[in-house]
Each structure stands twice: as structure tokens, then as C-alpha cells.
Amino acid sequence: MSYSFDWGVLWRYREALLGGFALTLALSIVSLMGALGVGMLAGAAAESERRWARVIAAAYVEIARNVPLLVHLYVWYLGLTTLKLPAFWCGVLGLSLYSGAYVAEIVRSGLQAVPAGQRAAGLASGLSPRQVLRHIVYPQALRIVAPSLAGLFSQLIKDSSLASVISVAELTFVAGAIEGDTFRTFEAYIGITVLYLVAVTAISQLTLRTLRSRIVEPAMRY
């Protein structure tokens, strides 16, 4: 082995790396919002009393989950070129609709995990069905699924690296650019690996804490 390391390359390209990191975070956060929106709708529809809503939700979940994320991205980027969407938004749409199916499954399992007695007790004590959902079912479901949602978010951050393939200049894309400039392949990819590790660890911890302190605990107060 006669490879001499030059870790200084990471410092020289710090601005490019930070820019890529920021775009990775932006892409992941916007896609998470999209995935939560789609997933909560589909998850609630899967538990609906209307048959057509259940059928549509099940079809969406099965199709979105069983097609690779890369194909989702290409559908928006290569397939629907008539929409003339910027690459970033192709990434957001692909990631949101792909991850939304997983959110739907998480939401559904959370709603199922709340004992039926809770709902009955709420109704019996005079709450309206909507109030029962809002004050009794959702808070408990959210507490049950908080760890899964945090896991999903870290998965999303990692998945967002595939957006580099459709030319979104996020972190992985930047590493490729640095490599092209300097041939410092090892340093560039290990450098971004560390950044991903930091982002995934920090964000999953943060999500867990925010979910607990902002949503679950206030809802459990009187």
C-alpha cells in the first residue's frame, strides 16, 4: 500500500461540503414533511370505514414500497419531463411518495395499537368522535410510533443521497465533484460518510425528543 492521505482536501473544500450538507438537510426535511402528509392521509385511509379509501390506500402503499427509490426519482426526472420540474423538486416528490408508503404503514400500526377500549371510553365520557381521535387516539398512537418515525427520518437522510444521481448537488454529489477535481477519492467519501453519520445520529435523537416534548407530553396533560 503506497497511498498517502491528504485530509486537508476536506478543509480546502469546506464550503462546497457545507453547501452539499445544507442541501441534503433541506431535501430530507422537505421530503419528510411531504412523506408525513401523504403517509398520514394514506394511513388514516387504510383504517377508514369506506372500502374505496382502503383500496386506494393499499394500492398506493404496495406500489410505492415495491418499486426502488431510484425508479421513483427517474419517473419524475426522466419520465415526466413535460412538467419541467427542477431536479430538487423531482427529488422531493420521489422521496416523499416513496417514504410516504412507509409512514402510512407506521401510522396504521400506531392506530391499531391503541386499545379499542380507549376509544369507547372517550365516546362514553361524552367526547365527539373527532375529539376522541384528537385527544385520545392520536397522542397515544404518536407515542407508540415515535421511534419508528425517527428511524424513518434517518433512513430518509441516507436515501436522499440517491438524488445525486438526478443531479441534485447534495452531499454525495459534492463528494463526486471533489473527487473529480483532486482524485482524493478516499478522503472525499470518508469525509461525507462522517457527515452523514453526524446528521443521522443528531436528527434521529432530535426527532425523538421533539416528538416527545412537543407533541406527546402536552397532549397527555389536562
Binding site: 404496495e62 414500497r65 427517474y74 419520465g79 444521481v165 477519492t185 467519501y189 470518508i190 460518510t193 452523514y196
Partner: protein, 217 residues
């Protein structure tokens, strides 16, 4: 939509689909064996082995698959003085990646077997190794079926990422056809349908095995 572009290139696309399926089978087998070993190492008595396994699992689980493939294909060769072909790099990367996830499923599968089971095994005269192999593992594996098949379906989808480093499996081949014919919609529809069929079939196998062998507690 005009699907004649798919029909014209069908032999090429079918060959690429076959490559996707054989690659998936290869990395499922390799990833499961590596993952089980890693999962056992993760719960090993020796703290050095346990620590190394934990470090590896933590590192891989925080890294995107694409980056793992780039490291194996581009970054390692100058260090180890050996270049892998794109296909070899993809297979090594997939196995190294999924093993870390399977290891955690194996671990939680083993932990889900009640302690009384191993105690009963020991009390009836089995050695620790025998108790693990004959009592704990068979039950753990039956409990792991859904989690394992989730990873297998993920892996089947992940094989599409090999196209990024130049492997002409199904996704790579479809993009190559599109570069020549420029008919993205029918080609992408075919691509999605092919993956859907394969992944859905694999998950049905998982559900069937689970119905047949699951332990009801």
C-alpha cells in the same frame, strides 16, 4: 403510451432482469450468512469481538448505500492495490451493507426467545452451544421471518443502485435503451412493473413462510 419500444428491446431487458434477480439471490444469500455471523458476534462474550461488531454495524447503518458502493468501487482500490469490476464492487457493497441490518434483526430475534427456553435446554443436559443451536436459533429464525423478508425486499430494490456505478442490471439496461430510443415513459413503466412483480412476489413468499412457521405466543 406506445409500448413497442419495450417489445423491440425485450430480449435485452429480460436478460438484464435475469441479472437483477440472480444478483439479488446472490446478495440475499451472502448478506444473510454474513448478517447472522455479525449478529452472533454482536452478542459475543468477548468484548473486543462485540465492540468491533457494534462499531461496524453503527457505521454502516449511518451510511447511505450509494456511498458504500462508491467506497468499495472508487475509494478502496488505491488503498488495497486491487480494482474490483463494477459488478464485484456492487455485490461486495450490497453484502457489506445489508449484513449490518440483518445482524440487528438476528440479535432482536435471539433476544425475543424467552430465557426459560435456554435454561430448560441447559437443565436437560445440553451444552451452551447445543442449546443455542438446537433450542434458541430454530425459534429465533422462525420469529425473524418477517424482518428478514423486509430486508430481502429492500435488497432486491437496492440492486437498482448498482446501475449508478455502471452495472447493466435492469435499471442500467433500461436507461441504456432510453438513451438510444428516448421513450422514457413506457420504459419506466415497464421498469416499475418488473420491480413491483419481483418484490411483491418475494414479500408474498415471506408472508407464506411466516403463516406456515410463525410461533404464536
Amino acid at each position: 403510451m406506445d409500448f413497442s419500444v419495450v417489445a423491440r428491446n425485450l430480449p435485452y431487458l429480460v436478460a438484464a432482469f435475469a441479472l437483477t434477480l440472480t444478483t439479488a439471490a446472490l446478495v440475499i444469500a451472502g448478506g444473510t450468512v454474513t448478517g447472522v455471523l455479525l449478529g452472533l458476534a454482536r452478542g459475543a462474550g468477548a468484548s473486543a469481538v462485540r465492540g468491533a461488531a457494534m462499531l461496524y454495524i453503527g457505521f454502516i447503518r449511518g451510511t447511505p448505500l450509494l456511498v458504500v458502493l462508491f467506497v468499495v468501487y472508487f475509494a478502496l482500490p488505491p488503498l488495497i492495490g486491487h480494482r474490483f469490476t463494477a459488478y464485484e464492487a456492487a455485490v461486495i457493497g450490497f453484502i457489506a451493507f445489508i449484513a449490518a441490518y440483518i445482524a440487528e434483526d438476528v440479535r432482536s430475534g435471539i433476544l425475543s426467545v424467552p430465557r426459560g427456553q435456554i435454561e430448560a435446554g441447559l437443565a436437560s443436559g445440553l451444552s451452551r452451544g447445543q442449546a443455542l443451536r438446537l433450542v434458541v436459533l430454530p425459534q429465533a429464525i422462525r420469529r425473524m421471518i418477517p424482518a428478514l423478508f423486509n430486508q430481502f425486499v429492500r435488497l432486491l430494490k437496492f440492486t437498482s443502485v448498482a446501475s449508478v456505478i455502471g452495472v447493466t442490471e435492469l435499471t442500467g439496461a433500461t436507461l441504456a435503451v432510453n438513451a438510444r430510443e428516448f421513450q422514457p415513459l413506457p420504459l419506466l413503466a415497464f421498469l416499475a412493473l418488473a420491480y413491483f412483480a419481483a418484490c411483491y412476489a418475494l414479500s408474498l413468499v415471506g408472508r407464506w413462510l411466516n403463516r406456515r412457521y410463525a410461533i404464536m405466543s
